[in-house]
Symmetry: D2
Subunit: 252 residues, 4 copies
């Protein structure tokens, strides 16, 4: 199926985990031109090479978006350099080890900032050029935790906020040619990731989780999420603005 | 993006409206082998020709599935003839003009039968061969009415039932290699369809609806639904069992 | 808090389990006049005595509502005898031991009939006199299964249908002075009930369920559901039509 | 129905609008001892008089909780003075006139702070004494906007966050004797309130809203919300922890 994104400029924010990298590669495979952003310069360099190198137009920017003001500064500098992005994928998300239900409000704000605040701040800069060209795709990596609400309360609430952000702002953008969506992955495993660690250190927990909570009986792969991230960024998602799409192995 | 369904056998039940036809053609375009079922023999014959004819393996069966016993009989006869289907798309759905909130229970049952009962009855026959081969896709055309719950109560409740069916039965099938999902279209327009009629007869209602309730500000096209129906039937939906996917132009 | 239901006529359909009986008694305690319906004549007679006897106006009707035509017949005969009911509580619900995901459609219909069909059929007769007097309360005992969707698929889908019925029909009734709602209990324990049996026969399952799935760490009591059933039947629910209220010990 | 809160200490945070005041009075009517917090000292003084005065134990504290650090300081000072509260009602919420979908992140944070941040910060201080005494009720005034997601995006997302907060933290508290819930009002009218203004200045919008979006066909009253706030604070909510309760006139 033709995705219609050959030559489109794609910005992928957050490459630290297996999912971001898989999304970048999946877009490159469709001949989109990828710019990747993360803290890890070495990882970014390797990724660009893996996608075919800078000669294909791919590029990166290494920066820590949790530093105050950096999301705006980074977005502005990216727009200066590339004029506009047709597709933006927000892939930053983590619970930061914060999970105490009566934690200080500052910790709730920190997790919110990482999972939503950075995206909101960058969208303010990244979306207007999409509005101008009357075409755009903005894809947020949320989590099925936004609905299931198990695990770190600070993480779950931030993802629930993100879903509501996608619904409300996505509706506003819908008649401007821009499709804003979220993808809600269930438990996904990759080298060095959370579930990879659990499998090694606590196989009982790993298998107990699969049996109790993931109907498919296995972890997802980053590639299974990346397919959806490309499809929602393609011409085919044109009638699906403001939607939150579960890709979760049958969470229960 | 390679959908991985070249040569797969696809059964599409319900071709009467624009969406079913678009789905059939979209599958044929991916070189899947399509069997189409509906009441309208002439329409089926034309559709098969449009997909390239019987020489490509496409076929049809004309029958009225609302007749008691017909879903089972039809499914059995289809399995006899084709051994199994890799992908089944259930596209029968309508409110039948029934919308009185205090209507007799028989009318509630009738709408339920059309929108869910037929599918349940046929799945009993169609799914076991999928379980045997450890691969399958079952896609139900639900409606965003399942969530928004506006319009005919009998229709909305049936679609809500259908979504819950997909979640519960979809979980059961998830570890057997079968991905059961639903797609929830918003308002879609096609020649001779509901919104086509409204546009002609009551343009004020047509435009009022778009303004009030569909953020994208236009009706959807059958093709925009068909893309999702193919993607959910492809190899790429492997980690999305038991999900209900909105494709609704930003219903609100 | 004054419930404002002193002297109101209440019909409670389904007394077989602990919840129905508790609701009847809770209403009687607020000096409402109760009519109870179930299959178990002896149980009904005892219940009426427990509420203070027929001299207080309480009454019962023993009938099996699963017999075709009986819901209509029973509702008509009740309206003939009592003219109207101000408050109706539908408390019939069970999975009937049916839980096979690929079960014949007849079994899906049977569970639907018990959990929703009977109520729909009786409401056709019971609600018009409420509309006439511009005041009424209709309370359906649903289940948190309508949202969690774990357990018998036939039961879960029927309860999801019931919730959607309450939303759609509840909206229609809202401006007519009638408040239709559902209550969604989580796991509740009472002598002879499901969890009472499990506790005796499979204590490991009982405690495992509590630990995994009910945040409160204990089963609910029928009285904890009955309080909500009275509150939603009172004058205080006037602004809560068409709502589905969870009372579920924190299902997760 | 006996609410079982005679003599209980109730803290109500946010009295500025009609709902907070009605809740305070409803609790006082059940002979609970009320402490009210808001910015408006004069309003607080009048309220205490209306509830029977300080001789009945009622008290107030005037403070602006949007000032950094004030929620913690206020909560600590209240606990110092009153030792503990059995019931806390959080009634602060507003969109602050912020509604631009691509607004700066600071504006999103501001609305979040008002609608959720203050409550989270105060709960850190107010809940531990409840845990100690193994009994407590924490009631958050959310909004049906948390589900409907129409109106100010910053407001809707904050209320969606609040609902998820109540679910996650409410589950944690459930087995400690504490019932944390939210109430989600629909459109409510009171002198000087939002809809009161609209009715005067834009009656067409007022009536259009009622017709399109509120099935009951009228605005709610503060008393209709207050009844639920008392019921959820009573002994009768013991099996309803972590729930979000709509009281919305049939939003659609």
């Amino acid at each position: 199926m033709e995705m219609g994104i050959n030559g489109k400029r794609v910005l992928i924010i957050g490459i630290g985990n297996g999912i971001g990298k898989s999304i970048a590669i999946a877009y490159a495979n469709e001949r989109a031109i990828v710019t990747a952003v993360s803290r890890d310069e070495q990882g970014l360099r390797k990724l660009v090479l893996e996608m075919g190198g800078e000669s294909k137009g791919h590029s990166y920017m290494a920066t820590d978006l949790m530093i105050d003001g950096n999301p705006t500064k980074t977005a502005k500098s990216l727009i200066e350099r590339h004029k506009k992005f047709d597709i933006v994928v927000h892939n930053i998300g983590h619970h930061l080890g914060i999970r105490e239900p009566l934690a200080p409000v500052k910790e709730w704000q920190l997790v919110w900032k990482l999972n939503v605040g950075i995206s909101i701040e960058m969208n303010e800069i990244l979306i207007p050029p999409m509005i101008e060209q009357k075409w755009g795709r903005v894809i947020h990596l949320s989590s099925i935790s936004a609905r299931i609400l198990r695990g770190s309360p600070q993480y779950c609430t931030s993802k629930a906020y993100l879903n509501a952000y996608v619904t409300t702002v996505g509706r506003y953008l819908a008649d401007k040619g821009i499709v804003m969506t979220s993808i809600m992955p269930g438990a996904v495993e990759f080298g060095g990731g959370y579930w990879d660690e659990i499998k090694k250190q606590n196989p009982e927990k790993y298998h107990g989780f699969l049996k109790e909570h993931q109907a498919i009986g296995r972890m997802g792969t980053p590639e299974e999420i990346a397919s959806f991230a490309v499809f929602m960024g393609s011409i085919h998602s044109s009638f699906a603005p403001a939607t939150n799409i579960p890709v979760d192995g049958g969470s229960m």
